[in-house]
């Protein structure tokens, strides 16, 4: 019987736990510490100060003053209301369009793969590019959208009433394919024998949809909803590129202005934390609901 030393035994087994730890886990944890955890904690510290990043003047801890100022500022509240409106419109639109497309696509036909890939194209584009060329599409003088809809010289983006919806439509166009992809995965996982059993029992199509399709797809639909709500709440790029209307000033745009135009670093860190708390709260509600749906 030959006895091997510890190193050779590890080599014979393949990867040893020790080498996995040294090669993969320690670098990952170090990277996350440096680039995620450290800025997070650092900005939490700044949110309690009156620090300004562009000035060399001394700064001091002012406790919860930043949070108090922000929460009593009616402008911040109006930004939150605008964001809520935007999130509701764009996420609802994405869910309806995306799930509808998935229902239509969930059958066998020629070029199904090609059509699915083509529908996913908008999702693959850079948000800044999408914002810029939708700005051209919305152009009041020669924009193709006004021509196709026959609206004459309707100003989408310079009209305070419609600017937010125009941005939401762009977001729907860009991200409905994402919802479609997730719900398509959910729909194709529904066992076919359930539909056959329903057909034998002469169940109507609406009954089949609400009692078989919807319950079985709902976990994936909820995951899509979570992702899209989080992303929509944090939307910056599309809205920032497309318009400068005060009615489209989402929280993240307010945050950007506070941090890099007014250079109110401490206050902007506080606002960022408020946004984080809101997003975490919304996500938690969804996750609770998701777990309930999964248990059924």
């Amino acid at each position: 019987m030959t006895r091997l030393d510890a190193g050779s035994r590890a080599v014979a087994r393949g990867w040893s736990d020790l080498s996995i730890r040294n090669l993969f886990i320690i670098p990952t944890v170090a990277f996350l510490m440096v680039f995620n955890i450290f800025p997070l904690v650092y900005s939490l510290g700044f949110s309690f100060t009156n620090f300004a990043a562009n000035q060399n003047t001394p700064w001091s801890f002012i406790g919860l003053q930043n949070y108090r100022d922000l929460l009593s500022d009616p402008r911040i509240w109006s930004n939150f209301i605008i964001t809520a409106k935007y999130v509701i419109v764009s996420v609802a639109g994405q869910m309806i369009v995306g799930f509808g497309l998935a229902l239509l696509l969930n059958r066998d036909f020629k070029f199904k793969g090609l059509v699915t890939t083509l529908l996913l194209l908008p999702m693959m584009m850079s948000p800044a590019v999408v914002g810029l060329f939708w700005q051209l599409l919305y152009s009041p003088n020669w924009g193709p959208i006004n021509y196709v809809l026959g609206l004459g010289e309707f100003a989408w983006l310079s009209n305070p009433q419609t600017a937010l919806y125009a941005v939401a439509i762009t977001d729907i166009w860009m991200w409905a394919p994402f919802v479609m992809l997730l719900s398509l995965a959910g729909l194709s996982a529904v066992p076919k024998h359930l539909y056959e059993a329903a057909a034998i029992d002469r169940a109507g199509s609406w009954y089949t949809f609400t009692r078989i399709t919807l319950p079985l797809v709902s976990p994936l639909l909820l995951i899509a909803l979570i992702f899209r709500t989080m992303e929509a709440f944090k939307t910056f790029d599309i809205a920032f590129v497309m318009t400068t209307q005060p009615t489209t000033e989402l929280v993240s745009i307010r945050l950007y202005k506070q941090a890099f135009q007014q250079w109110d670093t401490g206050k902007s860190c506080a606002l960022a934390y408020i946004v984080l708390i809101v997003v975490v709260a919304i996500t938690n509600i969804y996750v609770k609901y998701l777990n309930r749906v999964k248990e059924r």
Partner: protein, 97 residues
């Protein structure tokens, strides 16, 4: 399975496929528009109604990838002959003559 489907079901299936194709066209419209505008001469880019059928040009790309200066004199036949194909495309497009 397909053989026992009623004609109504087959019709609905067809309708759904047609709807998907229409949706695909709508979704790809903006991408087609931005892609085709890249190959349009400047005058056609902002026409109402948008031009769908046109002679594609490479001049927008040539302008993007080369450094250009305003020409003061019309291009000479020798310079034209010596120019690479992308410069010729610009000259043919009416610039510098």
């Amino acid at each position: 399975m397909a053989a026992v489907q009623s004609t109504r079901k087959v019709l609905l299936n067809r309708l759904a496929i047609v709807a998907v194709l229409i949706a695909t066209v709508i979704f790809l419209g903006p991408i087609y528009w931005i892609g085709s505008t890249a190959f349009k001469p400047k005058a056609l880019a902002t026409t109402v109604p948008p031009t769908v059928v046109f002679q594609p040009e490479v001049t927008p790309f040539v302008r993007l990838f080369t450094k250009r200066v305003q020409m003061t004199k019309p291009v000479t036949p020798e310079a034209y002959a010596a120019a690479p194909w992308w410069e010729k495309a610009i000259y043919d497009g009416g610039e510098g003559c």
